[in-house]
Symmetry: C2
Subunit: 151 residues, 2 copies
Amino acid sequence: MRGALLAFGGTLLAGVIAIAYAQDIKPDRAIKYRQGALTTMAWHFGYLGAMAKGEMPYNKDEAIRRSAIVAEVSRLPWEGFTPGSDQGAPTKAKPEIWKEPGKFKELQTKLIDETGKLATVAKTGDEAAFKAQVGATGKACGNCHDDFRAK
Amino acid sequence: MRGALLAFGGTLLAGVIAIAYAQDIKPDRAIKYRQGALTTMAWHFGYLGAMAKGEMPYNKDEAIRRSAIVAEVSRLPWEGFTPGSDQGAPTKAKPEIWKEPGKFKELQTKLIDETGKLATVAKTGDEAAFKAQVGATGKACGNCHDDFRAK
């Protein structure tokens, strides 16, 4: 009984500590984090877009490397849209993000799906298919920006 | 012969296009990219540091997930230290980065090694070893900041 109570106390304490750490994360840090992750993704996707548009030559190894990075990083920004971080630092995030979480989540999932496909198709070395998938991925970025990012 | 000349011309053209794209990347974009990647890494490492310091409870799954992200992202910032990007936007990057590329590279490699070890040890679930490796990884961050980041 005493052990159970102690264990229960420990679990409570752990929960309180976890909440305390999360609360320590101020909105400005969350905003900078998600912007950082999105900037990281955009940098690498920029090269893939340049290849797709013929602004730089297609290179299979680079396509593979940067697509894999984009696929990984596309999972990261979303945890930075913490409650209350609609303000606290300059941000283009629209309030709709917190009002329509289901729709926002759906568009995240769509992006992650498309970047996953991009990483897969890059490995095949099929240049035309790769370029088409860059287009589909760019569309997934844009769809979310249309609804949830201010101009 | 004509084919060889055409192929040579094509290679030259491809090289010129690639250089043109790289030159289009202005220093301020490179600076924002590398800061974005470093901010992304710091966000996730912050949770691991909080676990190691007891500011939040150790959680094996979270330790695995965030360590894997840190290991991946630790490879990314360095291509943002492009020639000429010692200025162009607010940056704490010291000029030494471009004067001592060998030493800078060595510290990048050290960090990538340590984050790789962190991702590996996180998977074992050995809490003490994980916490020790968080310390070793933090030291690798700090070593580079000491020499190459302004206060």
